[in-house]
Subunit: 345 residues, 2 copies
Amino acid sequence: MAATIKDIARESGVNISTVSRALNNGYGVNYQTREHVIAVAARLNYHPNRIARGLVTGRSHSLGLIVSDIRNPFFAEVARGAEDAARAGNCDLVLCNSDLDADKQMQYVQSLLEKRIDGIMMNSVSALSREQQAQLAGSGVPIVLLNRPASNHTFSTVCADNEAGGALAARYLLGLGHRKIAHLTGPRQHGNLSDRAQGFVRALQAAEHQEQPVVLRGKFTFEGGAELARKLLDEHPDVTAIFAANDVMAFGVAHAAIDRGLRIPEDLSLVGFDNLQFSVIVHPPLTTIHQPKYEMGSAAVDVLLRLARDKGKQIPEHRRLGVELIERQSCMEPRAGLLRASQRA
Amino acid sequence: MAATIKDIARESGVNISTVSRALNNGYGVNYQTREHVIAVAARLNYHPNRIARGLVTGRSHSLGLIVSDIRNPFFAEVARGAEDAARAGNCDLVLCNSDLDADKQMQYVQSLLEKRIDGIMMNSVSALSREQQAQLAGSGVPIVLLNRPASNHTFSTVCADNEAGGALAARYLLGLGHRKIAHLTGPRQHGNLSDRAQGFVRALQAAEHQEQPVVLRGKFTFEGGAELARKLLDEHPDVTAIFAANDVMAFGVAHAAIDRGLRIPEDLSLVGFDNLQFSVIVHPPLTTIHQPKYEMGSAAVDVLLRLARDKGKQIPEHRRLGVELIERQSCMEPRAGLLRASQRA
DNA sequence: CTGAAAGCGCTAACAG
DNA sequence: CTGTTAGCGCTTTCAG
């Protein structure tokens, strides 16, 4: 069916290796013959079989991306960044959804390995057993962990500066004049969220006012945010500002607050984390800490490509990307908030 | 490095072809030798090289998915459905983002073809020139068009029943008692949106009340929805309900309405289309027409897999998936709306 | 049931 | 600069 290098060789009267050279390097081949070969290739509508090439070169020019769920808008952004970078590096991207299930994850890895993928990016390995992690590390493929802080183990990582983000939120709210500030976050084990919380709390403590901030933990979902907000509003009605550990939680907070007849930002200031596309659409537009999601994807690919290039010395690389505060309309000075508190009293 | 079939042959004292048979079919091979071979393979931690296998079988067990942008939550859902189905069919999914750019799209197709992909799903071919479409059709790979109505050409299609969805919205609003209903949509050329508009208008006309609905066209984005809503509210202040051609436009409508001091649903009922995950989070939760996005992805893969199986007779298949109305809290009887209109007068 | 051999399409020494 | 020759790792006739 499809023309092969052999057909071109026959048609143009040279050897297949000459064809290969002419089509690839271009160098080390007579200008005339090269032109001729290329012309014949074009005439035959030749397209190289990358599978065959991969078999001999050992590189597949494919990268694997394992995320928990591409429907999570965070990962969709990361995936887009990864895909663009992969394309720029002449690779394509194989998408896998693990649902954070350890077995599923290992199956994907296995499958990718059997396809001789050049590298794998994944969401997390924390769900993996020690053996599984060892197996992974021993597989020989470059691996980079997405959205995971640098740790002492053997994998490369790409991650945003969560701690700085938490601090940013704290200082912003402080600057607005808030003194009764709460933080709503996920379970302690969650590395990223813990870093955000830590940055937040430390920045608050570093400020003159010494009051310990309220930190509530729950599920880091919309419902979780709403639930924590209700609890917080019950127990600490004097709070004037909330920092939610991610945007989706913040949406939940807003929902619960509105249900109680509170207005944002007049009665309650709210800061999120992530800067999802939806945070600008929501009402009011959410002030939030921007994570460079797209850049995380492309950075991961860069690391992978580098690792794939200098095969052998697999020295892991850790990239920590900067965050920034995006000021929108969910915060203001606490004047109105204090009013609310006194009204209640 | 990695153990090959050859290593197993040597270790177990049989020929490589026997190893291949033992590991694959299992049949036509002595039980004992098979067990032995399998044991040796396990001991050597053997994993087949699918690249090599692909070279001889001609199938890569990879499917390509070309969407305009995975960050569009609609496509993220489709992608998830496709990935799950691909995995179930023992294939993996290569993700491509075309931004609806014709050249980029063809580059992706080319790249996928060179990797001998088993089939391609794509968002659209409408941007492609006639030649490009012909080239595509002539390439021999199974192709299914995602989210495109069945047309007279050679490609398979998977698509939701947009017209029925429009009708559903109309009848729902009618049933609530609305008589002054508007539809906000995109440009005429957009097939899906036109179908929705048509279904909507026809259902309205089929009802007793003969009044022609207002239909405004603009950009089918958040901003577009907001803009059209402002215009509509200016020109037709007596409208009590709006059907937006998609959820994101509906969010824009809500935004603009709230800016004008209107409440949803008390002052204005609103129906969207898509049922994005965010439509439940938004305030108020949006009543909308659900499109089976996940199912569209998996259906596309099913079609592809079938097509790939019976090579040769490439008879295109068209799948039209059902939609349903999801009732949430953005609609109510128009009583309050009429009040508003009279208040203004 | 098993072995021998050919070959998928391409690259990469190695000679010339 | 170009041709010859080996394979990459696997499947698949074809004999035995």
